[in-house]
Symmetry: C2
Subunit: 192 residues, 2 copies
Amino acid sequence: MLERPPPPPDAPTRILDAAERIVQARGVTALTLEAAAREAGVSKGGLLYHFASKEALLAGLLGRLADRVAAEFEAVLDAQPPHLARTTRAILAWTFDDPHMVCEQHQRAAAVFLAAFHHDPALLDPIRRVFADIRARLRQDALPPGHALAIMAAGDGLFMGRIFGMYEMDAEGLAAMRAALERLAVPQAGSP
Amino acid sequence: MLERPPPPPDAPTRILDAAERIVQARGVTALTLEAAAREAGVSKGGLLYHFASKEALLAGLLGRLADRVAAEFEAVLDAQPPHLARTTRAILAWTFDDPHMVCEQHQRAAAVFLAAFHHDPALLDPIRRVFADIRARLRQDALPPGHALAIMAAGDGLFMGRIFGMYEMDAEGLAAMRAALERLAVPQAGSP
DNA sequence: CCCACTATACCGACCGGACGGTTGACAAAC
DNA sequence: GTTTGTCAACCGTCCGGTCGGTATAGTGGG
């Protein structure tokens, strides 16, 4: 059964894809309007027709990234069985259940994130909102105070370590860390 | 009792200080050779006499940063009482005992870090070594596997959250989080 | 059906400015 | 008189953004 090949994406999408590819492959500095245009198969003028400035391009990139992150987390959350600390456990799954394939996508996300921050920290606002929303839901988990925060921070730290090439954690260390954090995700932990 | 005012720093130091100030105050993009020179009170040629290229300037910045981070951690570690998980507890103290004054310094460190990463990720190597060393010592703490890692990752995540303006954690949340992590820093935790 | 007009999508040459780096001169120190 | 530190002027390049133009596809009047 052949899948119908997806229709060719429209120009703005193609341009955003191209920009992402460049940022991921050759770094923030390589993202110029010309390069993005060429990679997308349009002229610089064509690119600027859809994104009126570099900032607009970055904003587009960030908006899409925020949407994707939100959707990804939602999917992980939906896959979690009911539990008093469901959101917290979703974060754990999100952090550790990463099929290796996704790593590339995370690298891309990080590259976009950093590119945007580099240009103007305010561009991160869409993502900030996504995470603020997650944090709000986290607060409703029936966990001792601080546990959910610790788990989330640890996930973020792991993510950062990967992004900046600070850790190369082996599977064993990763599993141990996950186990330790999972023990924090037990409602009323520590007082049977 | 008046402290003897420190002798005026030499030119390379003045230049590095100036570059740091610029990166912190006006972002990565604002760090140009001209701007750094002007801020340091020398001409561009004068700057290039001491740092032959922008990359050299960034390498200098990063080297100094790595030294300072290492020294700072060492100081925190020395202040810790003997304990089976001394290194781990030093990390906790490092993360949470932050007198507010230091926050500014951390912002500066992060700005330098990001500027370097932006130019060339390989410039981060000196810092990578510092953290690799800390991680190695962490492994010698008598803690259940994963606990020290979790604590370190949480610290990193908190740091990242602050850098990118993702969290604004209140003191209460911070204290709760610290308490949760501190419970992980107890040797043989969980099995009396 | 044809024509005039308009809107959409795109092109690529060009401009202005910034930035990294070079050069040659110069003065004080040794 | 050579070395050391500093300067100002300059150069080539690159990049973001502008602009005049083109091709295609409607749209409405006659």
